[in-house]
Amino acid sequence: MNKRMTILPWLIAAMVLVFGAQSVVAAEADAQAAGGAALTLAIDKTEINNGGTIKVSGQAVAGKPVYLEVYAADHTVRANRFDADPDKDTGKRPYIFYITEQMPAYYKIFVPKELQPKIDEEAKKKGKWSYSELLKNLGADAAYTVPAKAKVDRYQSTLMASVVGSRGDLLPQLDEKDNKRRSMQLVKARFRSINNVFAAAVDVKPDGSYTADIKIRDGLAPGKYKIVAVVDKQVKSEAVTFENKISFPSMYMENAGTSMNLLYPFLLTLVVAIFGVLMGAGGGFILNPLLVTLFPALPHTIVAGTVTPTVLFSQGSGIYNYSKIKFINWKLGCGIGTAMLVGGFIGPKLTEMITLAQFKFAFGWILLVLAALMLWQTTPGYLAKNKKEQAILKEFKKRAEEAAKGKN
């Protein structure tokens, strides 16, 4: 026993030595590769204020394209995608839900200017553009590294799992290659439009020197960003860091992954809430589509998930006021409420399974139905009936209020 105890530290020390030496060797090899090709990268400023332009210049290999991989280093966001497209070979729908929490809040690859036509060509496919195909066509495969390392979880969804509102069974971890492939789909799911993830901005001279204007849009995550210049798998520059500053009233929203001037949602909600009161309905169904259309950077899941608690309190105070004058039938409310409880359990699960396009499409139809309902409520026949109803309603309310007062 005693002997073993003395051997153990030596063993660990030996292991550290061996592995340490190995990694040192590897690092040296990397440095050599980069140093040999002399790939340099310099930027004109290290700080921007809620977006801006950064001039990049450097020296690369003559006659070879240069790609710049730019990403937010401080903040990651969630990206998810529900795969229900039929398999090309078998025609079966996989129904697998992919999700990662480690997508950089900003990710973009800047490619040489000559490649613009290839981006335009892919853009013609509109919503059906493919990130992986474009990456390959641009020859930018080697520059795609950061999201490839994001750990992608996948869940096997079933009808039954959806009914009970669960994501399904967690499937075994993807291998490195598959993880990379799926992460590309998640990049598209997260950033949606081509212009958010690719730009042709690098100007490469025949002698291998290059310059680029990197435009960072507003409304992005604050903190440190990194730029890496890439020629191919072996030849990469050191990462250069710059910082994006966000100041109040703009703030970064951790879950949404975007910065936003908070005055806008405040004013919008105020107007919609007043309008909602005038109309005699909560404003949620106006606020949601407005937010989604006016602020395309906000994910629809966040919009739906954050507007819901906002209306919760006005409902609560309404119930409290009605209950004070005993104007609620608890049996009826709880009865239907139980059915709604089940529905409300399932709904949020479905939100994250649909894409923004599907969200907009369905919401568009819901609003049309709602508009029809409202129009019907302004027809003369309805109004005549409603007048009587309103009179009875007032009468009963008065009675209820008096009864409540009498008791006190």
Binding site: T306, Y322, W330, A339, T378, L393
Partner: protein, 129 residues
């Protein structure tokens, strides 16, 4: 099911009520709104209940839906605190200002404006406009 409200008795078809409520709940929690504008017509038209019974009870039913869907959205990480803090005070303020303006405008006009606004918004979402 029989229910009693202010001395009157009503016969309620709970089957239709629950199916309708369930569907409205799935839809409204999925898209993140309360569901009141759908719930009131369901209870007045499909269940043939008078308005004075519906106003309070529909609110209670919706409250069940909103609270559970809030919990679920939070669980799935769809809730953003800072975004919420930007909207919540505005919603409270709106609820305070709204009733004071309400006395001066005709609900009929408001509904017609809302109707037109909803159609425009819907066409925008559908990509037609």
């Amino acid at each position: 099911m029989k229910i009693e409200f202010w001395g009157q008795e009503f016969q309620v078809n709970m089957f239709i009520g629950c199916i309708g409520g369930f569907l409205i709940a799935v839809m409204s929690s999925m898209f993140g709104f309360g569901g009141g504008p759908f719930m009131v017509p369901l209870m007045t038209v499909a269940l043939r209940l008078p308005m004075y019974l519906v106003v309070g009870s529909s609110l209670l039913a919706i409250f069940f839906n909103t609270s559970i869907s809030t919990m679920r959205h939070y669980q799935f990480g769809n809730f953003d605190l800072i975004f919420f803090l930007a909207m919540f005070p505005a919603a409270l303020l709106g609820g305070y200002i709204g009733p004071q303006i309400a006395k001066r405008v005709s609900p009929l006009v408001v509904k017609r404006v809302a109707c037109a606004g909803l159609v425009i918004l819907a066409l925008n979402l559908l990509g037609l406009y």
